[in-house]
Amino acid sequence: MNTSKRKPEPVTVPTFAVVGRPNKGKSSIVATLARDDAVYIDARAGSTREAQRYPMRVDGETLYELVDTPGLQRARAVLDWLASNCSDAAARPAAVRAFVEQHEGDPRYRDECQALRPIVDGAGIIYVVDGSCPYGADYEAEMEILRWSGRPSLALINPIEGEEFVGEWSAGLGQFFTTVRSFNAHRAEVSKQLELLELFGHLDPNWRASLERAVAILREDRQLQVRGASSYITDLIVEAINYRVEQSVPEGLPLEPVQQLLFGRYKAHLVGRERQCRQRVEELYYHSRLKRSEQELSLQESDLFNTEQWYLWGLGEKSLLLAAASAGAVVGASTGIALDAASAGLLGGLGTLISGAGGALSGMWGVRRYADKIGQLKVKGIPTGGKMVSYGPSRNINFPFVLLGRALLHQRLVRSRTHADRNALDLDQPLLEWLGESERKHLAKLFDDIRNDRNSAERRSELGEMIARWCDDSAGP
């Protein structure tokens, strides 16, 4: 036995090697705890061939590290080698190290060496079994190897397809591990995930502080995710409520093609914004490759078209009236001042007042009387007037509710989803059915105020707070 071939570097960062038989959910557990949906998970056995490290970094500082390892394939052969190369119990950890160092280049023991390397380098052991399958004595060889390593360890029962044999496993594993927990990698809530990480810290007193800090940071990060998600959703709702597209059409051109174009633009914009919001929410929760199953946002509101006359290079009737009244008032008042000055002020300023008012009224009357003619004026063959066709904002009371419901449903599914779950998100579910009547009324009022620009900043922040409450794990639907 050669133990001096390679001196392992001491592990200073708490490291946890997730080991076990193939296809027992090791990668799923790592994916969930590392919040990484890039971890390759396959229903087929032996999908992990290389040990992969998943460090938890905070501003570049590593607080702990998870190592996903290939499944043990030849446990009995390894144990046989260890037994024949170790004479006493005190030398068992050294024997495991010696095995790894002697067989690292051997393709026959490739998986075993990959799994045992982090352990002999000082990692804690997270042993994973499937709670939906019965306990078998054939597992004992691999558990024995792990015991030989002398490293702190705990066992996780991952009930992949049911919890039928969890009790059986608890009894069996209890003989080899001091700590045994059931942890469903596909369903575990965030609180369970964090509890488990805290438990990892208990494996070694030197790891506790680091893991506790990591858990505190992950809790804060969860709050940031909630706030971020609610912020994106609020942005989407407020924009959708107020969104409007418009196009000016010169006098004499048909309106229908422009209306179709505008509807297309309106729809594409909102659908794009909803998609963008979803993508950002998924990214906030570290999901980068989710598939969704849903119906596209439905927008069939032809009554949202509005057509207004405009005159003189885009000025609407109101603007034109205001401009003409102001100009008339200035011209009239100037004349009045001259009159008052000429009469040495004996008119008491009445000249200025009357002329100013007269000028303003004349300007307004002129616009009222000749607006159509102004609109028909042509400069170099181009009409100076025409129609302004607009689409939106939506007046449908249900529209923001539908959008909000879709966004909250999506967020709820994303936030409760582990990174081991690879099924498509089912977004075709009832929306906002959990919303109470008073909340519904309050929301309707908020939407109405935002739409009509009544204290919109305050209303927006109020809406944001409500959405944040619903996005939260503890208080949400």
Binding site: A34, A38, Y40, R44, S47, R74, A341, A342
Partner: protein
């Protein structure tokens, strides 16, 4: 360090950048903003956001500074100030010199240079108060000269609903500034013409105003300064002496001298009721703008996300090489074996179950060997005798719910020369063999070196 006051341009650029930021992937934004925060020395939200804006603008293509037009905000403001000063000067000069007889009506003077100014100040004060109390900002007149300056202040013609109140405050601030300069120009012209020309102040009206009414009015107007500046008040004699009547054809030098006694009162009226309110409102608009703009910056949609990213640590838990690991190729688990024998792997089949399955019923119990449990050397010893015999068919009973292991492949490798091998997958009680598990075992079987290998899922009881 006090929080900086964002300019209107900053607010518009920030809003635009925050809008663009929605398209930035979250992880990229986290890393970028965290790096920016490490460089940022500001402790307040406004300072952080303005620093972020500067940093992100530099990183993006938009950050390249476009050549500024000659008529920018500063030059437009300077031009506006000069014009306001000139208009004030010209207005007063025109007014004073308009009468051919050098007579200036005090009422007209007060109307144009005091009352109108005061009314405009009142309107501005009402608007500012409404904005300060959070009400919607009222519309500005299209011909308001401050709009020309405002147009130079905004980076684009976009309507930013959130910035409506600060835009209006900038408009009001310029309005007060131009108004004050107009008054200052008028005061300058007043003094200059007073020194250089001969004109006298009279009062008169088509309304039947008595001397005492005028006296009361002037006393009321002079109340703020009459105690400490009695020279700038109007006496009853002066009021009586300066009453104008068209019948007066010529004024004696003594009358003219007496009538000029109005000017300290008039100038104090202009300073107190036109200039001072303008300056106070200008100051108020500055303070209000500062407060509103700072609050607005932190309230713009998306800014809370930037701040959260800047303030929080950068947390990653994902693997360094997040690239998907590819599914494993066929495992290199070679084996060969001759003969007919049943290998019961890891107690997949209890002895009493042997007869239950028809396909296994023909197997001689003596040829049924338990493997996969216990110490490997003992198992190897037991198998050594079996390997030496000739078999036509190796049957292996395995637990369908367990993955195939290389350990089993190693064992089967000892049956070299056996023409056929069948893997029988035992189901869990009352369950079918899952398709995924069947696939695992089929993949495993393909790696075995028997000439003929098949996998059969046994039916549940």
């Amino acid at each position: 360090m006090p929080a900086p006051t964002p300019k209107l341009t900053d607010i518009f650029r920030l809003a635009s950048m925050l809008e663009q930021d929605k398209a930035t992937p979250v992880q990229a934004a986290r890393e970028r903003d965290h790096a920016i925060a490490r460089e940022c020395a500001r402790g307040d939200d406004t300072g952080r956001l303005l620093y972020w804006l500067q940093a992100v603008s530099l990183q993006s293509a938009d950050g390249r500074s476009a050549p500024e037009p000659w008529l920018n905000e500063a030059s437009a403001a300077l031009l506006g100030r000069i014009v306001a000063l000139g208009f004030g000067f010209a207005g007063m000069a025109t007014f004073l010199l308009a009468s051919g007889r050098g007579l200036v009506n005090v009422f007209m003077f007060l109307l144009l240079f005091v009352l109108v100014q005061l009314l405009l100040c009142l309107v501005a004060a009402v608007v500012m108060t409404r904005i300060a109390s959070g009400h919607q900002a009222p519309a500005a007149l299209p011909l308001n000269p401050s709009r020309l300056l405002l147009a130079r202040t905004l980076p684009d013609r976009r309507y930013l609903r959130e910035a409506e109140s600060v835009v209006r405050l900038v408009l009001l601030r310029y309005g007060q500034e131009l108004g004050a300069l107009f008054t200052l120009g008028a005061v300058t012209a007043f003094f200059l013409l007073l020194a250089l020309s001969d004109f006298t102040f009279v009062w008169g009206s088509t309304f039947d105003l008595s001397d005492s009414w005028v006296e009361d009015m002037t006393a009321f107007l002079a109340a703020p300064w009459s105690a400490w500046l009695p020279q700038a008040t109007v006496s009853a004699e002066l009021v009586f002496a300066s009453r104008f009547h068209p019948a007066i054809a010529a004024l004696s030098p003594a009358d003219i001298s007496a009538m000029r006694g109005w000017w300290p009162f008039l100038i104090m009226c202009v300073l107190s009721y036109a200039l001072l309110p303008r300056l106070l409102l200008w100051l108020f608009s500055l303070l209000l703008y500062r407060r509103q703009a700072q609050a607005l910056v932190a309230r713009l949609p998306g800014s809370e996300r930037v701040l959260a990213r800047m303030k929080s640590p950068l947390v990653t838990t994902q693997g360094a090489a997040s690239a998907e690991r590819q599914p494993v190729a066929d495992a290199n688990r070679a084996a060969t074996d001759p003969g007919l024998v049943l290998l019961n792997w890891a107690n997949a089949l209890r002895p009493e179950e042997l007869a239950r399955y028809e396909v296994l019923a023909a197997v001689d119990p003596a040829n049924s060997i338990s493997v996969g449990l216990g110490a490997l050397p003992e198992e190897r010893q037991r198998l050594a005798a079996v390997y030496g015999r000739r078999f036509d068919h190796v049957m292996v009973a395995v637990k369908s719910w367990e993955p195939p292991l290389a350990d089993l492949a190693d064992l089967l490798a000892g049956f070299e020369g056996v023409p056929r091998c069948t893997l029988f997958l035992l189901p869990l009680p009352h369950k079918q063999v899952p398709a995924a598990r069947l696939g695992d075992w089929q993949l495993f079987a393909r790696g075995l070196a028997f000439p003929l290998v098949d996998v059969q899922a046994l039916e549940a009881e």
